[in-house]
Symmetry: C2
């Protein structure tokens, strides 16, 4: 079955990649060691040469998702000096991921029973990823506030969570309709609305200095 013997490093990569694809496609629930093995071109028991258990695979998978998410945010920061542009960039990257079906499974995973139940370690893991992500967004917001581009009378965390709230319901619909819902269009419209909320309202005290 296996083309050839490959180094554990390589196999681990392949396995996580396969698991990621399968999880995105069918959800964590349906993620079976057998399916992963088939996709990698191994026999089920072969998987255990490279991972201690299925849980182990999932942990590695979560780590990989975390890295992808963070890379996304960092790329957006690198390419955009303006905080508002940066946020929009993050948003659109997310949407692209969604459309490519690559990281769809993130919210699904986060909500998934598999995460919430039983395995407290995995739950903590997901919480860490989520928190980390929200903090990154919050940091961008904070910078925007410092620069006077964003209103300062709101907590960055609140803004960050609402930002996330643009993506998630769209993701739900995208899934439920099997891609029939135009996420990009929604994201753009929601973004516009979101901007109204987080930028400094015309005529407010905050904006006095701007108007004059």
């Amino acid at each position: 079955m296996a083309e050839a013997k490959l180094d554990t490093e390589v196999r681990r990569e392949q396995i996580v990649e396969a698991a990621l694809t399968l999880a995105a496609e069918h959800g964590l629930r349906r993620l079976s060691v057998a399916a992963v093995a088939r996709r990698v071109g191994l026999v089920p028991s072969g998987i255990y040469r490279h991972f201690k258990s299925k849980d182990d695979i999932i942990a590695a998978l979560l780590d990989r998702v975390e890295r992808q998410l963070m890379a996304n945010v960092e790329a957006a920061r690198r390419e955009n000096a303006d905080p508002l542009d940066c946020l929009k960039s993050v948003l659109m990257r997310h949407i692209r991921f969604l459309r490519e079906g690559k990281v769809i499974f993130i919210p699904r995973t986060i909500f998934s029973d598999d995460v919430h139940v039983g395995n407290p370690q995995r739950r903590r893991h997901v919480l860490r990823i989520f928190t980390h992500y929200i903090e990154q967004i919050g940091q961008i917001v904070r910078e925007g506030q410092a620069q006077g581009a964003l209103r300062s009378d709101v907590e960055p965390k609140t803004v960050a969570l609402m930002f996330f709230g643009i993506i998630v319901p769209a993701g739900i619909l995208w899934h439920l309709t099997d891609g029939g819902f135009d996420v990009t269009r929604h994201a753009l419209k929601a973004w516009k609305l979101f901007c109204t909320a987080i930028t400094i309202p015309v005529g407010s005290v905050d904006s006095q200095q701007r108007e004059h």
Copy 2:
């Protein structure tokens, strides 16, 4: 085990109720016929006197959730003439549900692999509930626009989805932290922000008539 024989009508009620509680507690994934039976005071096979299959139970459960959601929205509408107040009322009701752990499992269900995978019928069912709900919210928004309380240059559906986006990420955090996240506080803050976005901006064309 069973106290006494009960009518199917009664049993079906009990079974759905038990399934709802268990699903809220441990997620659909962990929802086993055996657990439901135990909670109702029956033996697993007894369940099949009242439901054809586990899928059947879940369908009934979804119907029940739909009714609860809609009842929630309708109550809010009944008690609030003003669209903005009405929306806030819906929001706070949701949050209360969240805190009571009663309908927590809705987003979890909606995202759950159990829904997305395999069973296209269930997926359509969830889509229907979701769409129905979003339409209700959209309807309130539409009324607000007609009354001139809300800005008219946004699609009600967009607003509705963003509204939903206030609740969902908060729900995620609430879960991941085991109730350690203050959802109520977040909802209030996010609501304030949300209002800024959806009400008519001061100085806009829309508001000219107001200012004069």
